[in-house]
Symmetry: C2
């Protein structure tokens, strides 16, 4: 049991460490100093040391980090050492894009079901998984252990769907619908708002223009 | 010209204000106090006032905010009062999902081209725009004013593509490829790492379990 509260900012950085360490492994790098990792990631070395100290360190002063070890340990912290069965609700383009993304499965996120309201999609296989119609969902949830539900459906359906999922025992929702889902105690929701990222880009673009043209 | 530097955290929150104000408008709400907005958004009222003060306030003590006015003004700050012509590089599922997302166009993000390497996709129309092959890109960029390029292609192609785009005058890249694109001075990059969001979910899920089961 983790007694110390880890800040959200650190948690947000962990997947990035994990990704960079994965790239180092691909490049057959065995050890890396916090300085070198810092240059690669554009984070200060002291930030890296601080972040990793939250989890007990992993490094030996002067020797740098063992890349494989650190990668594995961060993977464990992120919960990537177990299989997380997932389902996708909404088999539109985005749902299918996520279903087709094979990298998730390598990290333990195993897609076991895809559901949609559209009868035209019924039975179409995406990466070997046949799209089912929504009325089949409650039975499916009874018969299968599902950990994570991915919501790629319109905003106006998302709230009811989330409630249905929670009522049927789902404890983690990855939400792409364009609203913030409020989670009751014990349910974890990660909201992804793609349009907010695009607006941030647009903000930075217009600020840059103002500074250089106005 | 904006003389004051606005913090990244504030900028990240602006699209969220914009979204909530848009919802209020849909619900025909004309005025809202920072307290009520605060309850809706799960942000403190003083945070809201502070954030908006960065841009000159918008509120009158005791009267709350005029929703339409605030929505319009934040839209301007986000650069949503002008048209941003965009192209998508990579017409796979994710590229097509983004192409099909009509909301972007409402905010001024106008898709004018989709490109892919796969000849099978050539000429297929997504929301009325025919997919073109990549060799046609440089000429297209000469003949059209493109502001934002969306990268939805594999990691191993993303760097070269970004360079090609930058060489051809693109100044804003919305990157979905699984690497951090480093931008040269004057080029704005917004990296979206979907798998990092999924890992954050998985982290929170395993922490919750540890706290409640271990």
């Amino acid at each position: 049991m983790q007694s110390k509260e880890i800040s959200k900012a650190v948690i947000k950085r962990l997947p990035r460490y994990y990704r960079y360490l994965g790239e180092l492994l691909e490049d057959k790098v065995e050890r890396i100093s916090s300085n070198d990792l810092s240059k690669k990631m554009h984070v200060t070395a002291s930030q890296i040391r601080q972040d990793l100290n939250n989890f007990g360190g992993f490094g030996q002063q002067g020797y740098g980090y063992n890349v494989q070890y650190l990668y594995t340990e961060i993977g464990k912290i992120l919960g990537l050492d177990t299989i997380h069965p997932m389902i996708i609700l909404g088999a539109g383009n985005l749902g299918q894009a996520l279903a087709n993304y094979a990298e998730f499965e390598k990290r333990g996120f195993k897609l076991i079901g895809i559901f949609d309201v559209n009868p035209v999609l019924e039975g179409i296989a995406v990466r070997g998984i046949e799209i089912q119609l929504l009325p089949e969902l409650p039975l499916f949830l009874k018969e299968h252990h599902v950990e994570i539900a991915i919501l790629t459906l319109p905003k106006n359906r998302a709230k009811d769907m989330a409630q249905l999922l929670i009522d049927n025992g789902i404890r983690a929702i990855w939400n792409f619908a364009h609203l913030d889902l409020d989670a009751p105690e014990g349910v974890i929701v990660e909201n992804v708002h793609l349009s907010e990222s695009l607006m941030t880009l647009s903000y930075n673009l217009s600020q840059y223009r103002k500074e250089h043209i106005d």
